[in-house]
């Protein structure tokens, strides 16, 4: 069952990475506002009316 150490270590490591992510998110004020992000994604930032672009390749 020694493989359990590998699994625990790796899992804990990943949990640690997520923890760092969480700390980062909170420290950067990602969650200070828990209302407007949900609304903001609904707004389109498209320019002008929907029209097939004439240039289909990379600009």
């Amino acid at each position: 069952m020694s493989v359990i150490f590998l699994l625990l270590t790796v899992s804990t490591l990943v949990a640690g990475v997520f923890l760092l992510g969480f700390i980062w998110a909170v420290s950067r004020g990602q969650y200070d506002d828990d209302r407007s992000p949900a609304v903001r994604i609904l707004l389109d930032d498209r320019v002008g009316p929907i029209q097939p672009s004439t240039d289909n390749e990379q600009p």
Binding site: L7, T12, A15, I23, D34, A38, R40, V47
Partner: protein, 707 residues
């Protein structure tokens, strides 16, 4: 300052179209496999038996259909959520083509029998390496996009994508570690119980982090967009995310209840599995409640209809999952078709319907037009829903009742259904109904293809979509001690402490595990002979584990039917383990010595000769194909590297011993009137089957006195 830029829609379109293509292919293979279970003649050839098509089906729907759907949805939403084009168009293209190349190579190698023999991780090592590389490129592309974003806040969907990327990378690498023998053959680094634990840690988390978290990200983006209203509670979505990812990863052992895995590891898996109900249902309710006050629109809009059923299926599957991991329920459901029904609620309900909804929402937007026919989309919706019902309900019944049949005793204490096959034939009707459900579902998908083609023809791809957004201002780091930010937030502080304590606790536990290995060694368990090893590789190649388990649970009904229950120490030389997860046929762990060689010979040639009515495919090619003995030496050497105690001189004489053992079997077969030669594959397979699970029988005297 307002900046103008363009979203890359072409990559989204590519991923979306290929999703549809692989989806149809994957479902078609699934339908063929389902029909093979009732009409064995449909196994056609040695390359298309159920044992080879089933991995092809699972790999196709998971990695090709769902995988490409994730990429399509993520590439669309990432750009818009972060208000920037993808980091690199070149990386996007390499990602796309690399992934498709992997899928094509899977579609070629799996029917050829190149497999690692571990569920959902069958692909051989060169493909595994390619997967890792492409995954890394995807990561660079995603994180690069995040770094150059114009939106400070990372919407919750992005967190789900990040968690997916990180965890899948880890799972894939750890589970795929193996020692190559040839280009198309490798042995898992781990053996027996350890391999089982790693595999199901992977298998469970593949469900969690490939089929669930990325799709939750898609749900949190596309559901609000389609409903045009914000998610019910953004706060809940954040809690949903963090609690889900911290709990999910510990639940794997619930796939191994009552197996030879140590009891404490099983219990740990159960506890975390039951805990998972909370975040899962939080997420489901959050999705459904987003539609509060908009249910009238659900009636009109097929996209929302698909999403509602998808989220409901997510809720059903995530309630059922924890229930199935409770030991008592698991003792009934495990190894039966109940599990097949369960995963398809998740697969065709949650993943399938969310993908379909996404397709109907995205295609008109990518092509600057309207959906060709809302009516046909509704037809697809109802066909799909009917398909799910016809698929799942018969299998729930079948699984439950077959399990009861396995466990039924007469008043005198004998098994009522002595012959396993009888219980299978009792539920054959359900297999037909399941195939019907699958067909209806597949027809629905074809309706979608038609609708999409018509829509695409009516529009023109907006390959680069103009957008504008203000540039991101640099944030100034405010003064104060570095951790003042958290001290101002008591709740977060508490959460951190708890997490820190939990991690600390786990680390403290490790030394106690280190004290002694939990796998008891059994002195009579010996390494396989070269011929048996070759035979075992044939067993793996043919995908026998897709229908036969090698794990007798400690229940009276199982020891009565199969023999002594399986012990952890019996599997120490099994690279990979072949416990299986489904019994369409009987368990094989004590098949060794149960029948004469000739029985196996005829049975592999045509199973119905020995077992009338059998639904097993015939393997006549094993009787004709010559065994490839050029690999024997390398295989034994690989095993020595993995710690199997062969003599260092042994690899050189392995083939001589192989031939000698083969001659013995041939001589025995001759007595039964069968003329064959010792270099046929069947001889190796017979040698292996006669060996399985016999090592502990080596001391019958002690067993007898112990009782």
């Amino acid at each position: 300052m307002i900046e103008r830029f363009q979203y890359d829609n072409r990559i989204v379109k590519n991923f979306l179209f290929i999703t549809i293509l692989w989806g149809v292919v994957g479902m078609l293979v699934g339908l063929i496999a389902a029909l093979q279970l009732v009409v064995p003649a449909l196994n056609f050839s040695e390359w298309t038996t159920f044992g080879r098509l089933r991995p092809l089906h699972t790999n196709a729907v998971i990695f090709a259909f769902v995988g490409n759907a994730i990429f399509a949805g993520a590439y669309y939403s990432l750009q818009r959520l972060l208000k920037t084009r993808m980091f690199s168009d070149v990386l996007s293209k390499i990602h796309f083509w690399g992934w498709q190349l992997i899928i094509v190579s899977a579609a070629i190698t799996l029917p050829l029998g190149m497999t690692q023999g571990k569920e959902y991780a069958e692909l051989e090592w060169p493909i595994d390496i390619a997967i890792a590389l492409v995954w890394v490129l995807f990561g660079i592309n995603m994180f690069g996009t995040i770094l150059k974003r114009r939106e400070r806040h990372l919407y919750v969907a992005i967190w789900f994508y990040i968690a997916t990327w990180v965890t899948v990378a880890m799972l894939h690498i750890v589970n795929s570690i193996s020692i190559p023998v040839t280009l198309g053959k490798s042995y898992s680094w781990y053996a027996g119980v350890q391999d089982a634990l790693v595999q199901w840690w992977y298998g469970h988390n593949a469900v969690a982090f490939f089929l669930t978290t990325p799709f939750l990200g898609l749900m949190y983006y596309f559901l609000p967009k389609a409903a045009n209203r914000p998610v019910y509670s953004y706060k809940l979505s954040i809690i949903h995310f963090w609690s889900l990812i911290f709990i999910y990863i510990w639940a794997g052992p619930h796939h191994l209840l009552y197996s030879a895995l140590p009891e404490w590891a099983q219990s740990l898996g159960v506890v975390f599995s039951v805990m998972l109900i909370a975040p899962s249902w939080g997420g489901m309710l959050n999705g459904l409640l987003t539609l509060r006050g908009a249910w009238d629109r659900v009636r009109e809009d097929p996209v929302l209809k698909f999403f509602v059923v998808a989220v409901t299926c997510y809720g059903m599957a995530t309630l059922e999952g924890p229930l199935l991991s409770i030991k008592f329920i698991n003792s009934i459901a495990h190894f039966t078709d109940w599990i097949i029904a369960h995963v398809h609620i998740g697969g065709i309900g949650w993943n399938g319907f969310l993908t379909f909804g996404m397709v109907y929402w995205l295609v008109p937007r990518l092509f600057g037009t309207k959906l060709y026919s809302v009516k046909l989309a509704n037809v697809h919706f109802w066909l799909g829903t009917l398909g799910i019902i016809f698929y799942a309900i018969p299998l729930y019944f079948a699984g439950f009742f077959q399990s009861l049949m396995w466990k039924q005793f007469t008043p005198d204490g004998f098994l009522v259904y002595k012959n396993f096959l009888d219980t299978l034939l009792e539920i054959k009707y359900a297999y037909w109904l399941r195939a019907l459900g699958g067909s209806i579902y597949l027809i629905g998908a074809f309706v979608m293809v038609y609708n999409v083609v018509k829509t695409v023809k009516a529009g023109k791809l907006i390959a680069n979509e103009d957008a504008e957004a203000p540039a991101l201002e640099k944030v100034k780091v405010t003064g104060g001690h570095w951790h003042t930010w958290i001290e101002r937030r008591p709740i977060q502080m508490l959460v951190f402490s708890l997490i820190a304590v939990a991690i600390g606790g786990i680390i403290e536990m490790v030394p106690t595990f280190l004290v002694k290995s939990n796998v008891p060694t059994i002195s009579s368990v010996k390494p396989y002979t070269p011929l048996e090893l070759q035979g075992r590789d044939i067993y793996v190649r043919e995908g026998c584990y897709t229908c036969h388990s090698q794990m007798i649970r400690p229940f009276r009904s199982e020891t009565e039917r199969y023999g002594e229950y399986s012990k952890a120490g019996e599997f120490v030389y099994d690279h990979p383990f072949q416990w299986g997860s489904k019994r369409t046929g009987p368990d094989l762990h004590r098949v060794g010595g149960k029948y004469p060689h000739s029985w196996h010979y005829y049975h592999m040639w045509d199973p119905t000769t020995m077992s009338p009515g059998s639904l097993m495919p015939a393997y006549p090619h094993l009787l004709e194909n010559a065994l490839d003995t050029t690999t024997t030496r390398r295989k034994i050497e690989a095993m020595i590297t993995l710690g199997v105690p062969y003599d260092p001189e042994f690899p050189a004489q392995a083939n001589a011993e192989l031939r000698q053992q083969g001659e013995g079997i041939v001589a025995d077969l001759k007595k039964a009137g069968i003329e064959t030669s010792s270099d046929r594959e069947i001889i190796a397979l017979i040698a292996y089957l006669q060996r399985v699970g016999t090592d502990i029988k080596a001391k019958p005297a002690t067993v007898a006195t112990a009782q």
